[in-house]
Symmetry: C2
Subunit: 129 residues, 2 copies
């Protein structure tokens, strides 16, 4: 019954839990660890705003110098946050001359969104049991 594979291959090769909805069935310890590492990256006001700024910036990309004016934080701190987002697979780095541009990775955004997508519908569990 719970045989709908969606259109999602479990590309855990990237370290991304592609489609692992929280509902329907309990996630495994490994899935929880992977998803939590991604969520930890965005569970910070500064990083959340950085991600949002990159996403909404012209062309979907932004360099550090574009982002700095939005914060009261030091440049090393911003750089650190960007590194956290990059290490979590949420941001892609592209070097252009002296500047480093960051671009959000749609796969990661999709992975995060799909986590809670199925959970938003009310009374979903127990219907099949």
């Amino acid at each position: 019954m719970s045989k709908s594979p969606d259109r999602c291959v479990p590309s855990t090769a990237d370290g991304l839990a592609c489609c692992v909805p929280l509902a329907r069935e309990p996630i495994t310890v490994e899935q929880a660890a992977g998803a939590a590492s991604m969520l930890k990256a965005v569970a910070d006001p500064a990083r959340l705003r950085l991600l949002s700024l990159v996403l909404s910036h012209e062309g979907g990309e932004a360099c550090v110098c574009d982002l700095l004016p939005y914060f009261d934080l030091s440049q090393p701190t911003i750089s650190h946050h960007l590194k956290v987002l990059h290490d979590a697979g949420l941001l892609h780095r592209k070097k252009r001359g002296t500047w480093v541009y960051y671009i959000a990775r749609p796969e990661a955004m999709h992975a995060l969104g799909s986590l809670f997508a199925a959970a938003a519908a009310p009374t979903l569990a127990g219907a099949g049991a």
Copy 2:
């Protein structure tokens, strides 16, 4: 065109950022703080698994004694994690006799899902600018 108010009233009265997508435009400092507090709650493997277990449990609800066997953690620790999820507005508490049942709040699940929903689509920013 960027005038679509969706069907979402900003019910920040709950402390929930109802529909605050990351993309399209930069989120405010307050929105980031609110969303981050919710994300912090789920940015932990144990709590993520707890949420998933509650969601997929029969009837969409589970008491602490149902959840305990799934973990190697002590009962106070599980209780603590459930409190964190409850304080973040992700779980609802219902007392029935000696047992306390936890139920996931669909509004909160929707709020988390909508954060990344719009960000999953590629090349969304810069199109309107």
